[in-house]
């Protein structure tokens, strides 16, 4: 959507920095998720996020950008004219920034949204099938939905006039619904509901959540695509909602579980940040306080549902991102204020039910589309390649079986139980001492 406006230096600088901030959220998410799983599959969890950064970048350059933001075809999808960034040079402009800065910023969104899904299938997915799924999913689900909402000519943006600055629908509801579909297709982890499956390293989770929170300033305030008042209100709202989310989740835990847990505090932060993502450019800081608090409370209750209903959304992608995103997307219809939006008002500010209805419709459509398409893609890949590892491999842990390494080698005993040359990995057992010694010195 290039136009003829001039490039603004301040806007360009802020969006470039924001793109780098969002990139940092991906290793942040990897640590956030990686600390939450059991030690035997921690690296696999990190790898599912890290490979998204690589794979989605390649897809984005080849055709992803063009599908999402190329010339509009009926408000549904972009055409392939901009595939390979052909014809997009340094002078191409989107809004007040170079198109390439906009493309870099949006690339990070696509990569982290795909990475978010991995939390729902922790400890049990085939790595190759995951890569294939990511390529198929961004193509069929993410790029169209990003076009609908983030491209000014997309139907949700142009016709429904939904307010969603940073992706409550595109990123949060989308990943939540898709993650739920993935969890249903792959089935529960062995021992689900029987074994505690506690996080193996909560300090890693806290470090990851810290990186996420830091990067979220770029995610939300960068979505203004300009450096000014809108970016500033999004920035302060992000901080306020993250803080309120912590308190909301801990309040639920104190009442329900009698402990304020560390995992709960950082989960609440993420829930609050998720909640404000769509709303950061539509509400004032008091509105952000309400949204963050309610998102934290709602997500804290939602994560308990999987045990009652029996689906294994392992790291609560649906419970935190789906529910938090829904809370934020809907509450825009209640708390949007003309002082921030410059026009649209929510129910609380006398805008009636109009905006709320539009928000609800977008949430339902994106959620239903994401769930249905993700379910079909996952089922297809499961038939074609198999999506779940064998029972023995799942019990042994994916780190050694798939990646041939372990997250921690504190006793120094790992050599000799990993990948042996000329033999299938899964059949390797503890090897005789001589083999272990020779494995070490082999170049």
């Amino acid at each position: 959507m290039p136009n003829s406006a001039a490039i603004n230096a301040g806007d360009t600088a802020w969006v470039l920095v924001s793109a780098a901030l969002v990139m940092l959220m991906i290793p942040g998410l990897a640590l956030f998720y990686g600390g939450m799983v059991r030690v035997k599959s921690a690296l696999n969890m990190l790898m599912m996020s890290v490979t998204c950064l690589a794979v989605v970048t390649v897809v984005w350059v080849l055709y992803g950008y063009s599908l999402a933001f190329g010339p509009d075809a009926g408000g549904v999808i972009g055409t392939l004219r901009d595939a390979g960034f052909s014809g997009i040079g340094t002078h191409a402009v989107t809004g007040s920034i170079p198109t390439l800065a906009f493309a870099a910023f949006q690339l990070m969104f696509a990569a982290i949204t795909a990475a978010l899904l991995s939390g729902s299938i922790a400890d049990r997915a085939k790595f190759g099938s995951w890569i294939v799924f990511v390529i198929a999913w961004v193509t069929v689900v993410y790029f169209p939905v990003a076009h609908w909402v983030f491209d000014p000519s997309g139907w949700i943006s142009a016709h429904l006039h939904v307010l969603d600055l940073a992706g409550g629908t595109v990123v949060e509801i989308n990943s939540g619904a898709s993650g739920l579909a993935l969890a249903l297709v792959l089935g529960r982890r062995l021992g689900f509901k029987r074994d505690p499956m506690r996080p193996h390293s909560i300090p890693l989770v806290v470090m990851g959540a810290g990186l996420l929170w830091f990067g979220w300033f770029g995610f939300n305030a960068g979505s203004a695509l300009a450096s000014g008042g809108l970016a500033s209100v999004a920035f302060i709202n992000t901080q306020v909602a993250g803080a309120a989310g912590v308190l909301g989740w801990l309040g639920v835990e104190l009442r329900r579980d009698k402990h304020a847990t560390t995992l709960g505090a950082v989960s609440g932060a993420v829930a609050g940040l998720v909640g404000i993502t769509p709303a950061c450019g539509s509400v004032n800081p008091l509105g952000a306080l309400v949204i963050g608090l309610l998102a934290g409370v709602a997500a804290a209750y939602a994560v308990g549902l999987k045990f009652r209903l029996g689906y294994d959304d392992s790291l609560d992608v649906a419970g935190v991102h789906g529910v938090g995103g829904l809370v934020g997307t809907l509450l825009i219809g209640v708390l949007a204020t003309a002082a921030v939006t410059g026009g649209a008002r929510g129910l609380f500010y006398g805008g009636g039910f109009d905006q709320l209805g539009r928000q609800a419709l977008a949430a339902v459509v994106v959620g239903a589309y994401a769930f249905a398409m993700s379910w079909l893609l996952a089922k297809g890949i499961d038939r074609w390649l198999g999506f779940r590892v064998s029972r023995d491999d799942e019990l042994a842990g994916l780190d050694l079986i798939i990646h041939g390494e372990t997250a921690y080698d504190i006793a120094g005993h790992t050599a000799g139980v990993g990948h042996r040359i000329g033999q299938s990995v899964s059949s390797s057992q503890a090897v005789p001492e001589q083999d272990a010694a020779s494995a070490k010195i082999r170049p």
Binding site: K193, R194, P196, D257, T261, L263, G264
Partner: protein
């Protein structure tokens, strides 16, 4: 000689160590263990879910002593480790055929 093995609650280690020192024991091996006894674990709540935790964290203590000391030592360990609540653990002993002090090569009671 006899090998006495005790599985105790982790926080009772200091009390048991003090009792062993008072008894005059010179050597002790401690390792982390987990397991369950007759009461078979307990229920925990975490992140909105209730779990049956059947393997409870414990410490395993091992001491080798002369046959004559074994009964008194078992009693000393048991009374130091006792809280009176479920999950206090077990103490047992088995015969030991041979002991060698690695540094000197001394054998039997002299090696204890």
């Amino acid at each position: 000689m006899r090998l006495i093995t005790a599985v105790i609650k982790p926080f009772k280690l200091d009390d048991v160590k003090a009792a062993l020192e008072a008894f005059g024991v010179h050597g002790l091996t401690v390792s982390e263990a987990s397991g369950f006894g007759r009461q078979a674990g307990h229920t925990e709540v975490y992140r909105g879910a209730e779990y049956q935790v059947d393997l409870v964290p414990k410490l395993r203590l091992e001491v080798v002593c002369d046959d004559d000391d074994a009964d008194d030592l078992i009693e000393a360990i048991a009374s130091a480790a006792r809280t009176g609540k479920i999950g206090d653990g077990k103490v047992w002993s088995v015969p030991v055929e041979a002991v060698v002090r690695v540094r000197t090569g001394e054998r039997g009671s002299a090696a204890l």
